[in-house]
Structure formats: C-alpha cells, structure tokens
Amino acid sequence: MILLEKRPEPSRAWAVATPLLAVLLTMIVGGILFAALGKNPFETIRTIFLDPLFSEFAWYYRPQLLIKGAPLVLIAIGLSFGYRAGIWNIGAEGQYIIGAICGAAVGLALYPMESRFIFPLMVLAGAAGGTLWAMIPGILRVKFGTNEILVSLMLVYVAEQILASMALGAMRNPEGMGFPGSRNLSQYPSAANLELVAGSGMHWGVVAAFIAVIFGYITLSRHIFGFHVRLSGQGPRAAVFAGVNPKRMILICLGISGALAGMAGLFEVSGPAGQISIDFNVGYGFTAIIVAFLGRLHPVGILLAGGLMALTYIGGEIAQSNLGLPGAAIQLLQGMLLFFLLAVDVLTNYRIRLSQRGTV
C-alpha cells in the first residue's frame, strides 16, 4: 500500500525536480497520445522539443522563441505576484487584448505624425489599459466580494467582443479596402516595435520581459512589498497582523498583472502582429498561467518555463505543418504539462512510503 507522509519541511530538491519530472511525464504520455493518433511518438516529440533549436531551419525558429516567449514571461511575472498573494487573475488574456487596443489607439490617433515620444506613450497606454481592465474584477472583489476568478475570466470574452468591434469599426484601416483590421503599426516608424538587432527576434517586449524578471526577483526576495505579497498568500491572517491591507493588496496585485499583460499586448500589436485584427489574441494570457506555475511562481523559473512553452508553441506548429498533427493535440500537450506539474507537486510536501501492512 502506498502511503503519503507529510514532510516536516518542504523539500527544496523536489521543488526544483518536480518541473523537470513533469516535463518528462508529459513527453511520455504525450508520446503515447501521438502514437494513438498514428504518429511516430519519438519523431513527434523530437519535432516539438528539439527541432526548433537544432534542425536545419533553426536559424528561423530561434528568433521565434524570443518572440513567443517574451509575452508569456512578461504576463506570467505579473500573474505570479497575484498567485503568490492568493489572488487568482485568470483573465490576463483580456487585459492583454485591452492593453493592445489602448496602446494601438494612441498610435493610430497620432498617425501619421512622427515623433520619438509616440512609442513610449503607446507603452504607457497599453499598461494603463491592462490595469484598468484588471481593476474591474479587483474593485468588484473589494467592494462586493465577488470572485475574481470568474469575473476576470468572463471579462476575457467581453474583451474579445470589443476587439472584434474595434477591428471591424472604430479602428478599421480607412485605406484597407473595407477589410477588417487596423493600419499596420509595424509600418508606421514612430509606433513600430521593430527588431532591435536584425534577425535576432529581440524587440522591446523581450527587453521588457527580462527587466520584469529582474524586477520580480528583487521585489520578491529583497523588498518588503514582495515579503507582504508572499505573506498574504501563505498566511492571510498573519499578513493583516503584519500590517498588510488585504484590499489594497488585491488591487495592487491585479494592477501589476494587468499592467504587464497590457504591455505585452502592446508590444505584440505594434510588432509581431502589426495590427488590431479579429484574431489578434492567440492565448498568451492563458498559456502564461501554465508558465507561471511551471516556473514555480519564481521569476527565474518563469523565464525558463516561458522558453519551454514557446518551444512547444513553435515545435507544435512545425509538427502541425510537417507531420499533420492536429492543433488540439498541442494544446493538450500544454495542458498536460500543468496537470502533471500539479500532480507531482505533492512530492515537495509529502514523501511516498510503501508499507507492507495496510495500517493507517
């Protein structure tokens, strides 16, 4: 009989090892899944996890890794503050959309003026848009005790409707022959988030993601605010005793995650995506939740996890085009990663003991 026995203290070794074990289990079960779909499991796993880095077309995929990874890391760092404090913002996707719309609106309103202040202004507008969108669940929670999980999630679908309306109406390109979608911001020099080094994939969003990792690391490990964030999550009553105002903590944490998600949206719309379109959002806001947990809510872990998730995105696309793997299978693989992580997480706090007799 297998017994779970609580460890006197959480194991540090397992805290590091469980994400790796989760990746391994995902590869194994994913392989079985691919085999059931009639694909060669080894080839598929290799295509998803190794080809983006080491195949002959890696020169094309490697910059993509930064482009896909940056928004994931940026959003996940913001989410990790809330998750550490026990505030569950599930709606980063919506904050990402609204950030993109607000930032793009500034750029489009000033078109075709050229000024070096336009792009920074758009970044601020993006952050502000994301923050405001996140304040809706925040204020409802603080004032009326609503559940921020439900409200933030539902607001994603509201944001998607606003996005569609913008792409078809207010923000539609007047010179676009009636096609939906805004002007292409990446072709408007003052508003474009272009590659900083040609061919590297490095754009301002990547820079912002690295800054966010450093900021997150220092705040959580060195600053009293980060301490209060952790306190709120691990001992809400103790946090109040330590002088934390729980309502203010909710608003600040939602504000941080909203601002970073909004900025991620802006960097995307002004760079890789280029325009506000109906299908602008591709789920970064949801995948970032997995990234945040896969990275143990630790900034450095999130950086690594963001890279891994970007890999599965790119590898998944290769597998779709080269091996004809259905897109849903890739999403399943990403979901599996979170599932296994949460499952093996139990090893951090418990050890497994085998007992001969069935004593409890």
Binding site: E5, P8, I224, G235, A238, A242, G243
Partner: protein, 505 residues
C-alpha cells in the same frame, strides 16, 4: 474484572515513539485520569482506544473480550464514546440536526429532539434541541457533544481536555454530570493537564511522559506539585513576582466599541480600561466572548475611532498595526499557526513579520536579511527556542517552542505596551513557566502588559489586576490578590442558565 484493560500498547510514527509499552486498566464506574504534558502520547493512546489509530503492537480487552477497533464506528458499537477537545459541529444547523448527523440510523427529528431533552434533563445539562449551534456558547457546544455520546449509552466515555472552554461554574456542573454517570456504572477516561481538577474528580491517575507510563497514583492522596513533577520529570520553577510601584498610565481604552467582524464574531461594547506602566492586567473569559476582537482592536487589525484607544497621551485607535508598533505597542495573538506566525516561512521571515518596524529590518523598503537573521538568532538564544536554526520553518517547531519564539519576538522589541492572548495555550509546563516569567520580567522593566487567558490559574499567577470579558463587555477591574476562584467564576458570568445534575434516578 476491569472494564477495559490495555497491555503493552506501542505505537510509533516515523522518528517518534508516541506510546511505548503502555499498560493500564480502567474499572467499571471509575473516573480514570490520563495525565501528561503535550506530546506525552495521551492523544495517540485514546485515539487507539477510539479506533482512530491502529497500534503497532499490544492488546486491548474490553469486558474480557479482545478489542481492536478498526474504525471509530466499531469502537462506538462496542460502547466507547469520545468527546473531543475540538468540537465537530455545524454552526448553521440546530442541536438536534447536529446530533442526528452523528448517528448510524437517525430516527425522525422530533424523536431525536425528545431524547435530547430527556437526557439533558436527566444529567443536568440543559440544552434546547432547536437552538442553532452557531448561537451557543462553548460550554453549550460541549454539552451537545456530551449528549451525542450519552445517547449511545456508552460503557466508556473518553473526555479530552473538556474544561478548557468552561467557566468554573460550568466545570462544577460537568463534574456533577460525570460523577452521576460514574455512579451509574459508566467508566470515564479523563484527559487533562489541570491537576486540581483531577484531584477533585478522579479516582485514579495514570501519568504519561514521552510515551511511557511513569507512574500511577491516587490523585486525592497526591499533591498537585508531586503530580506535576512526575509529569514533567523535573523540579518545576515557579515564576516570581516582585512588588513595585506602578508608573504612569500607558494604555487607556475609552468606550471601546466595535461591531462583530463576522457572523459568529462578538461585538465589543463600551470597554473602559486603564493599564499603568509596570502593571500586568489579566483579562479572563470563556472563549468567544470577544477576546479575538479585543486583540484585533488593540493591535490595529480592526481600527476603531481614534480616541477609543490611547497609548500614553496619544490617540491610536485609527492607526494600522505597524504605526502602533512604531509607537511602542506590540501584540501576540492566540493562534500561533497562521496568525502570529506563518508555518511555511522560516523563523527569519517570521521575525520580519512583526519586528520590521521597531528593529529597522528594512532600509528604503529593502529587507536587511543579515539583521533579521541575527535578531532571530537572538530570540532563539534568549528564549531557549529548541530548533536546528533560524532557517527552520515555524511549522517545524513544537507548539511550546513556537510560542516561546512568538512571545520572545514581541518582548525583545522592547514594547511599552504588550498585548498577549493565551500566552501558554497548548504549551508544556516548563515552556509555560518560562513564558510567564518573561512576562513578569517585562513588566518589572516598566512595560504595561495585558494578558488575555482562559487559564485562571495563570492569570492569578501573573496579573496584578483582573477583569472578565463576557459577551464583549469588560467587568469592573479587581485586584487579583483579593479574588477567589469562585468570585472570578461569577465575574465570568454565563452561569445563569445552569443547574446541577438531578442526583438520583
């Protein structure tokens, strides 16, 4: 023949032996005390009898037959009932519904209610089956648990620390009930660390220390001090109090009132109080009469009007906890795990929890880990906290050691006013003595201390003045030296609706 006989019972957990070769017998109609410090193995032993824990070796016989209950249901069927220290009742349901929930085949509600009425009358435990449990006092809730057991008509009734939530008058009523049960042939296994109670109630006592039986005695013939030293295994240090003149008023409460913070909370009603420098003010009362709310209002978790709480001459009623700490008011709440300390965090982090302001553990908002660590180590050294080091999590410490750490953390911040709720709750006797001595020393150095406790002996030991908290109201303060336990009992109130058991059939 004994009712139940336990032979060489051993139960080990990884790293600890909870019970080792424990043997004792309980006679029919006997009130048998099981005595021991926290961690002595009392709980494991009774859990084995109640079928919650399966012993590694050893045998039990009940009425001459082998008894090895696999689960509590089997124990109950065999005639063993248990009243736990922590009640398992649903606040939102009424008494009869709660009792029916614990039955294997509950009869209709009105029949349960009728049986509750008759049993409660028979044993002098008045209880209205239609009352909502959330509205009951702790003593009344305990009666629900007891009546739930009595309805099973048990041969052996196990009671785990039953008096910790009762007023002295309620204790008397409970003891009458237990004596009546014993006279009818029910055996009672009574677990406690309160020696005077055991001396007045029990026929026989088995003393456990570190999982082993270290002695048996007749509590009526043995002094409380002898039993305590048997229990602890060493000579106890009794805290000493010195007489000294009091200083200026340090803490003033003026008509302190606050609404109940949640549905089952207590409203604070116009509390007036003055505590002087060098004075220890004791506040007694049964749990749930506003202790938590009073601490919250004093430490700043629950702000009130500014002039309701005054520190020296300054109004602080509207200030947040850290602003109050900066001015010199520190507090130690009752619940160690999750309120006074965070179990999953290290002792260093738990030091920062309250000491960041007064010990300057942050510069421009950036934490100074070195300083925090050395302060944590200082607390560990000064208060003899048994732990591998400051990096250990608070959750890895035993209750007594964590409490020493929590109290030490506040005392070593050198506060002008210290508020402590339940300083020695669930703490072993030697740690409790050390904590009480530290409180007395702090007052000697000129701090005003407010000690809130349900342990009246403790309050009598440390307090200069005493008042009782009853339903959010504070009684007029009295000099502790001139009070008897009976008078205190009356001050604690809640005795109005009680009656003594109807002795006889």
């Amino acid at each position: 023949m004994s009712l139940i006989s336990i032979k060489n019972l051993t139960k080990g957990y990884p790293g600890v032996i909870a019970n080792k070769d424990v043997s004792f017998d309980i006679e029919r109609g006997e009130i048998h005390a099981l005595l021991g410090e926290n961690g002595a193995g009392k709980s494991t032993l009774v859990k084995a009898i109640y079928g919650l824990v399966k012993p590694d070796s050893g045998t039990m016989t009940l009425e001459g037959e082998s008894f090895a209950p696999a689960e509590p249901r089997a124990a109950r069927a065999a005639g063993v009932a248990m009243v736990f220290q922590h009640f398992s009742l649903f606040d939102a349901m009424n008494v009869a519904e709660n009792i029916a929930l614990g039955m294997e085949n509950p009869p209709p509600q009105n029949e349960v209610a009728a049986r509750v009425r008759s049993v409660s009358h028979q044993y002098g435990l008045p209880l209205d089956p239609d009352m909502i449990v959330g509205d009951l006092s702790a003593g009344e809730r305990q009666r629900v648990e007891i009546i739930r057991c009595l309805l099973q008509d048990p041969k052996l009734l196990i009671m785990d620390e039953p008096t910790s939530v009762l007023t002295p008058q309620e204790v008397d009523i409970l003891f009458e009930t237990l004596r009546k049960l014993a006279s009818e042939g029910t055996s009672i296994l009574y677990i406690s660390h309160k020696l005077e109670e055991i001396r007045s109630l029990c026929d026989k006592a088995t003393v456990l220390r570190l999982g082993q039986v270290v002695g048996e005695c007749d509590p009526r013939q043995t002094s409380a001090r002898d039993m305590a030293e048997l229990m602890v295994g060493m000579v106890l240090h009794v805290p000493t109090k010195t007489d000294k003149p009091l200083g200026d008023v340090a803490l003033t409460l003026t008509n302190l009132s606050a609404p109940a913070p949640h549905q089952f909370g207590t409203r604070l009603r116009a509390i007036n109080l003055e505590v002087r420098k060098g004075e220890i003010f004791g506040i007694g009362g049964v749990a749930g009469n506003g202790q938590d709310e009073l601490v919250a209002a004093l430490c700043g978790e629950m702000p009130t009007a500014a002039d309701m709480v005054k520190l020296g001459t300054q109004n602080i009623g509207n200030l947040a906890p850290n602003a109050r700490r900066a001015l010199g008011l520190c507090a130690a709440p009752e619940e160690r795990n999750g309120h006074a300390a965070v179990p999953d965090m290290s002792l260093i982090e738990n030091t920062i929890l309250t000491a960041v302001t007064r010990k300057n553990l942050a510069k421009n908002g950036f934490l100074q880990w070195d300083k925090a660590r050395s302060f944590a180590q200082e607390i560990i050294r000064t208060f003899d906290v048994r732990t591998p080091g400051a990096r250990s999590t608070a959750g890895s410490l035993s209750g007594g050691n964590l409490q020493k750490f929590v109290i030490g953390r506040e005392i070593m911040q050198d506060p002008d006013v210290l508020i402590i709720n339940q300083p020695t709750w669930g703490v072993d006797a030697s740690a409790a003595a050390a904590i009480r001595q530290a409180i007395l020393d702090l007052a000697d150095q000129g701090a005003a201390v407010v000690v809130i406790s349900q342990d009246l002996d403790e309050l009598m030991e440390v307090a200069d003045r005493f008042a009782a908290l009853n339903d959010g109201q504070l009684s007029a303060p009295r000099d502790a030296a001139s009070l008897t336990i009976d008078e205190i009992g009356l001050m604690l109130g809640g005795a109005h609706d009680l009656e003594v058991a109807h002795v006889g059939p």
